[in-house]
Amino acid sequence: MTAAFRIMRQRFSWTVSKNYMQRSAETTGPAASETLVKIRDLHFARGERVIFDGVDLDIPRGRLTAIMGPSGTGKTTLLRLIGGQLTPDRGSIEVDGLQVQELGRKALYDLRRRMGMLFQSGALLTDLNVFDNVAFPLREHTNLPEAMIRDLVLMKLQAVGLRGARDLQPSELSGGMARRVALARAIALDPMMIMYDEPFTGQDPISMGALVQLIRLLNDALGLTSIIVSHDVQETAAISDYVYVISQGKVIGQGSPEALGNSDSALVKQFMQGLPDGPVPFHYPARDYMEDLLNA
């Protein structure tokens, strides 16, 4: 289906387009395309509740893209859709030239090997200590000698400032520490892309600052593509190249952080400035408050 579509598009560009080279790169060449993740007309619902209602989104390669939006709009869900853990009801998600929802098991796992994901909860394996947690992907996917694994793990732990905590069990870590260990684990295999789900929650100002810098550094030094989901508007805006604001199933604003900061849209303004009243509702959909109280 998609293959046929792709061929058609290629033929089309062959006959019509002036710059065939560029188009074919966009449709076929995984390494050549500028856009790493391309989401088109995404629809997704959990039972009755519609979470995405026609979302278009591009994540450019090598950049740091932030996704913001009120709590419960589906940011975590979006990351899971990109990682192929959920399947969209309609629309397409393309990662590195591959249609995620159409991949077979093997191809999907090959793709995931090149993605890192930092879970909101950390998701550390509780039966392994910090060192073994970071070593886990290396041991599962490579045959590196133990000495080299040790070096790699210590390097990653050093980057998040927890080299000294290598012998602790996950239960002995604070929430913020656990998230940093999870970050070290997510970068263990040097992926092409990392998705951070709320990396700054529970960090004190010092580790927050360090983490902000680390994320930016990883992006620039390793040429990674980064997607950050976060509520910390200031911190995230400071390091991101491009920002999407999602609310109620739609992209309500996008652009560079500066552009969004000066946006005319009431929706975006409300979110970027953190005002409780405005077009974006603070409340989960419910019936009228008075009515609810009076009809016990």
Partner: protein, 259 residues
Amino acid sequence: MLDWIRGLGRGGFRFFETLGRANLFALKTLVGIPAVLVRPRLLVAQLFSVGVLSLPIIILSGVFVGMVLALQGYNTLVDFGAEESLGVVVALSIVRELGPVVTGLLFAGRAGSALTAEIGLMKATEQLAGMEMMAVDPIHRVIAPRFLAGFISMPLLAAIFAALGIYGGYFVGVGLLGVDEGAYWSQMQSQVDLYDDVYNGVIKSLVFGLVVTWIAVFEGYDTVPTSEGVSRSTTRTVVYSAFAVLGLDFVLTALMFGA
């Protein structure tokens, strides 16, 4: 009335749906087993927590069940002057029935519930989802080793249970009640058949091991990822396993010794 029928229908659907999921799950687990054999360390760790840690309760129960059997058997047999056959009675009851069945029930309570709770908590804390995102299939990495360990451990535990039960019977029968030691062992030797009795007992314990472990890992994997969900799944593991062991015991016994 209509509601009742509707409820019944819905329950039926849900039952078959779960059964289907459980079967697919078993298939995926079986596919994952060769990968475990290549990495014996994963299996050994699980053999320890599933098998070795179940040993104390199995040993203790085995000895006591044997002792009780000897007491009961002796009181009945002595009326007929047949107390020499005590060894046969103890050995047959344990090897054919009580060994596999009681071990199966204890195994479900000790190892099965632990497996469900562990896997369920891994799911609730997103550890399984995290593995998936690291391109590690949790069914291969987490489920398959546990499943295999349960399948291997259960017959061994049943054998240990049987051996200790027979010693427990010996201790009470010969040691306390004064049954002739030679008669206890020699009658047992001549009356207990390797194929009819021992092998059939082994088959039972293999089947129970398979079913109990399957229920346990499936309930864990299929749990609703909350504290309440995990606690419910753990309860279900024990209840379903008990039903399965007792029901299958009847079926297997009928097939082996009946008709």
